[in-house]
Symmetry: C2
Subunit: 201 residues, 2 copies
């Protein structure tokens, strides 16, 4: 015996959420149906809306409903300095630290040959074009201090130095093996201030 | 600075799920947008469908898309024996134990005067009518062995005994303070077999 078909479909559908197993999905479904049908309807609408409208910014690849995201069209930002991060959450974390006034480039991942993720998959061809066309003077590499993040930073360094761009890596005040978006603002501010130039190899 | 409006709405909407805080909601949103847009669309559809179509069975109050649920229209069940449980999850747990062939009555909660939940809110007026009209011979009380569950069982006993119905409580093989739906099948089977009649007070 199972739950009724519509209920079972909801339980199965909730499993797409990371960290939600069969028991949690069941608990969530019963909670929504018993106590928060309005919330469930709102969530359904928000999901549909997000899937339909959210795309990537043409310049920095961050999530946005517009063609260019709010940061990229903000004339007060320093367009000659670009910070490269792995995820939209990283952008938010750096913005919260209040210590960066340039623009971003969001990789939406990192190089990972094992998973078949190469330079084009994280938009590095686009980024190379942008660096040349927009006359970017400095690139700050803020990928995560993990094996893949370091490899991505190394690849970017190799790609950018021949273009005559100043390349730096945020200081490792960020704990090794950690995730950038969960670090507190002042540690991030420290890491941004203490960045050091990357020497050609 | 925040995420783009549609993304922020999605993060806020995910907070309706029990056990999901701001960080989890952010992680879930970014995961869905980056890696599982199809899953997100399916979830949106399942939520809408569930909210629109799932109601309560007219006889047992369990969740169903039909007027009467699958168990209530199953002619092979013993309609003279009714097991009273708190939630739809409890029905599933007892069905999985394979030791009960009667019908159910789902309270969708328990008596809780502090939260303003009285007998009518858990359908006890409907249940009293049903016991008389359907000629129910035995009622098994399988509410949770918590303070509220015990109080609900006590109230039901007081209500049913004057109607000449045999009333029993499942044996407390179920660990005290626990939740019925998370108990394994054999413990539940034991509890059902070891039920004892409730004496008039």
């Amino acid at each position: 015996m199972k739950f009724s078909p519509a209920l079972q479909s909801l339980i199965d559908a909730l499993r797409v959420l990371p960290g939600v197993g069969p028991k949690s999905a069941q608990r969530m479904s019963l909670h929504l149906l018993e106590r928060d049908r309005d919330g469930a309807a709102t969530l359904a609408h928000a999901l549909e809306d997000a899937v339909q409208r959210i795309g990537h910014c043409r310049r920095c690849r961050n999530f946005t409903e517009l063609e260019l995201c709010e940061l990229c069209i903000d004339g007060k930002r320093d367009a000659a300095t670009v910070c490269v991060v792995e995820t939209p959450g990283d952008v938010l974390a750096i913005e919260h630290s209040g210590s960066f006034r340039g623009l971003y480039f969001v990789l939406m991942g990192h190089l990972s040959p094992i998973d078949g993720i190469g330079p084009a998959d994280i938009g590095l061809d686009l980024f190379q074009e942008r660096v040349v066309e927009d006359g970017i003077a400095e690139v700050i590499l803020a990928t995560n201090p993990t094996v893949e993040g370091e490899a991505t930073a190394y690849y970017l360094t190799e790609m950018l130095l021949p273009l005559g761009v100043s390349v730096s890596r945020i200081a490792h005040g960020v704990p090794l093996g950690g995730e950038l978006e969960f670090v507190d603002g002042s540690t991030l501010a420290h890491a941004l201030t203490g960045r050091r130039p990357v020497n050609p190899l």
